[in-house]
Symmetry: C2
Subunit: 464 residues, 2 copies
């Protein structure tokens, strides 16, 4: 999907070297390139996009499948602006009809879409999300360490918070799945403060959860990687694939030497725009400051797999179903969405497997993984759902570059102890990007773009 | 302190390759060597001992200083047995006279040693440690994931537990320093379950905290590295320094290729016996299983610095002081011990700086770091303490091999989610050692030895 060849030799010099060709790195490179600054992007894998990965399935007449980040919402203005600049059309996520819920009693219940919101624990759930929004409203997004409640909130897990504030067990179950769905971890794995920060960075809990007017509103006609690929094509031979950065050395003269698997470059400034898990596997001379190391070491990636099943038609729509479902109880699948192409010429469901469910599911051999997913889809959408034309899965913890997804989640204590110095403060000529370093839409494509643009602005200011 | 030269070429083959020449790696190698198995130890740094690091100060007539682990207690039978085998004498930690406490009001108070235990919050502290011991008694040390209370305990931080069970603020302050002192982190940074597991693995809270009959009972005349150095000398040219392992590949035939900075070896079995932080920076082909990766990624190292100050005499003894002190409030130093040589020919104090205190202190320039420590020692032991003959510090997070100390502390959720598969289960021909993988004296030298001996037993069983 873009033109740069692996075999092209690396240049030996650049004003700015960007490590990683995900949305953060490409956005940093684009902003610097727009400003007339000589930039080189080094990507370890053989494609751009990072945690956004579009596959075009030729045997299905060019069906576009998004294995990673895929949606865009109306307040994700940076991503929308790039999509417009590079002519990448979007279309509304299919959102008509009845959503389903599958509970541990094995019964499928309709939920929303076809009428008023109801169901066990819904009122208590709504009250809890309002309470969460009220707490999140006081988070300082640009200086999170200055948030008044930081000390108490960063000393506990989200599970502790839920245990002490939500008495309705069904509401707790709903909130548990919401945490899995948005953070891809269990509520015990994540600092309450980071959870509140993340909610605030998106503009509220509803933004994270909903479709219309929210984060899941629209999809990209050519897949969510299309914007990244267009940026890379625009940058042309400045983007080098198959060039994993192994070692970054800040030299005595203040310049930086970057060693890759196929040659080295010298640069004035470097942006590391990988996931935290990949960043901490790059060797540094001198060692990074302790605060930055600890930030990276204590922000593990979440665990998610996306499974696409393709059918001749979106047959569930004929029964008045939206294709959206939430699954509680002893299933691997947590959430399902209609991911069909805009013209509906094929039916596509995407199933998400998160957190502990992913840990169990990923241990199974492939035929059992498939059967496990299809069993749940059958309970939701009937027998037809069990016989897809095509089945494909992407298990993000196995991805050697991302090492997990969607994002990294700081454990309790990390923001409090290392937020100020370790989150995104440049270390001399080394700058940091990646959605984890964003004050807006942290964990999302839009946050990645914001982080790249911020890092580029830091470099422009430094070079002035 | 031992004979192997860096310049010696590496062998190309060994039955077992051990990565890391700390106590875990050396104990594994010794057990295999004793059993007649061909073993090679690869150590990245230029010395053996790992987190146990003895310096002999020539300008102070050969004074022995332990920058890392230093004590041995009566139930640490593996370390005592090796010390006896290799003829490394020990002597009792100086423990006469009055201990001191320095509180945030700036007043020094005597504490224990010279009379009954008293002081603000002591009764509530004792009650809390009894409650902790009662919980710890139910921990399953060999299969921690089978512990009945695991779910609730691994979903919360120690801070949450203290907030909900200890009402006396002075007792909470005491417990906070105890957590700093033993785990080198803040109570918010650590899973309650891991905390209980660690207590259980030592045989109870008192074992961790006390001197006589407990973990701090004795010291090594030639320093705590002396046993490691003796093992290395016994293994002779099987131990290679300056050979950092960068890549471990399990080949199609089941054998393992180990790449170091200076050549590669083939082995039947490999033991990785580094800290978790160092282990996750070794590249693996194929990638490690997710559970092991997540275990490593979510078990960050603690933060500790040890500062030694040397005086002409242990002058505090003349005033009836033991040299032991605990420091609350706005000081970097948390705990002080008399670390003089057994003959008392010089006076030595060792000051510990932990967790958040370490984060602040390590940001200071060296003269201010020194002044900060000496100011506290002056308040405790008088003006004389402010003018040492010699000052030396070891800041463990800066150590490029250990990357922190004393040990790694799993965050909430890690034991529950990845304990069974990720803690120490061998991955094919790859075995795991290091004190973090021990069921006894986890975090201590004795635990490191136990872990190495277990890994060696696994290999012997596999080769049989």
């Amino acid at each position: 999907m873009h033109t740069t060849q692996k075999s092209e030799p690396l240049p030996t010099e650049a004003t700015a070297v960007i490590v990683g060709a995900g949305y953060a790195g490409l956005s940093a490179a684009l902003a610097l390139h727009d400003a007339g600054i000589d930039v080189v992007v080094l990507e370890g894998s053989e494609r751009v996009g990072g945690r956004v990965h579009t596959e075009v399935v030729t045997q299905l007449d060019g069906l576009v499948i998004d294995h990673g980040g895929q949606w865009v919402g109306p307040t994700q203005t940076r991503l929308l602006a790039l999509a417009e600049r590079f002519g990448c059309p979007t279309f509304p996520t299919y959102n008509h009809g009845t959503h389903l819920e599958l509970w541990s009693d094995g019964v499928c219940r309709p939920f929303r879409g076809a009428g008023p919101v109801d169901g066990a624990g819904v009122a208590a759930y709504e009250a809890a999300t309002e309470a969460i929004d009220a707490l999140a409203a006081s988070v300082d997004l640009t200086q999170p360490w200055a948030t008044p409640g930081l000390g108490a909130w960063d000393s506990q897990t989200v599970q502790t918070y839920l245990d002490h504030t939500v008495t309705d067990p069904d509401a707790r179950t709903r909130l548990g799945l919401a945490v899995q769905g948005v953070w891809t971890v269990e509520p015990r794995d994540i600092s309450l403060f980071h959870f509140l920060f993340y909610v605030a960075s998106a503009g509220g809990f509803e933004q994270l959860m909903e479709t219309e007017g929210c984060a899941q509103e629209r999809r990209f006609s050519a897949g969510a990687q299309s914007v990244a690929s267009a940026i890379a094509a625009h940058l042309g031979d400045r983007v080098h694939l198959g060039a994993p950065v192994q070692h970054i050395e800040v030299l005595d003269d203040g310049r930086v030497r970057v060693d890759t698997g196929r040659g080295q470059l010298h640069a004035t400034r470097v942006v590391v725009a990988t996931t935290p898990a990949a960043a901490l596997r790059i060797h540094h001379t001198p060692e990074l400051p302790q605060a930055r190391n600890r930030w990276l070491e204590r922000s593990p990636m979440g665990d998610v797999a996306k499974i696409h099943t393709v059918y001749e038609t979106p047959f569930w729509r004929d029964s008045g179903l939206s294709g959206e479902a939430t699954v509680y109880g002893d299933h691997s699948v947590g959430v399902v969405f209609d991911n069909s192409p805009s013209d509906g010429r094929l039916g596509v469901l995407v199933s998400f497997v998160y957190a502990e469910r992913q840990h169990r599911w990923s241990q199974l051999p492939e035929p059992e993984r498939r059967q496990d997913v299809l069993r749940t889809l059958g309970l939701l959408f009937g027998e037809q759902a069990q016989s897809p034309l095509y089945y494909t899965e992407k298990n993000w913890p196995e991805d050697p570059w991302a090492r997990g997804g969607y994002a990294a989640n700081p454990a309790p204590g990390v923001w409090l102890e290392h937020g100020r110095a370790g989150w995104r403060t440049a270390c001399g000529p080394l700058h940091w990007a990646g959605t984890e370093t964003s004050s807006v839409w942290n964990g999302y494509i839009d946050g990645a773009i914001a982080s790249g643009q911020r890092a580029a602005a830091e470099i422009q200011a430094a070079l002035r």
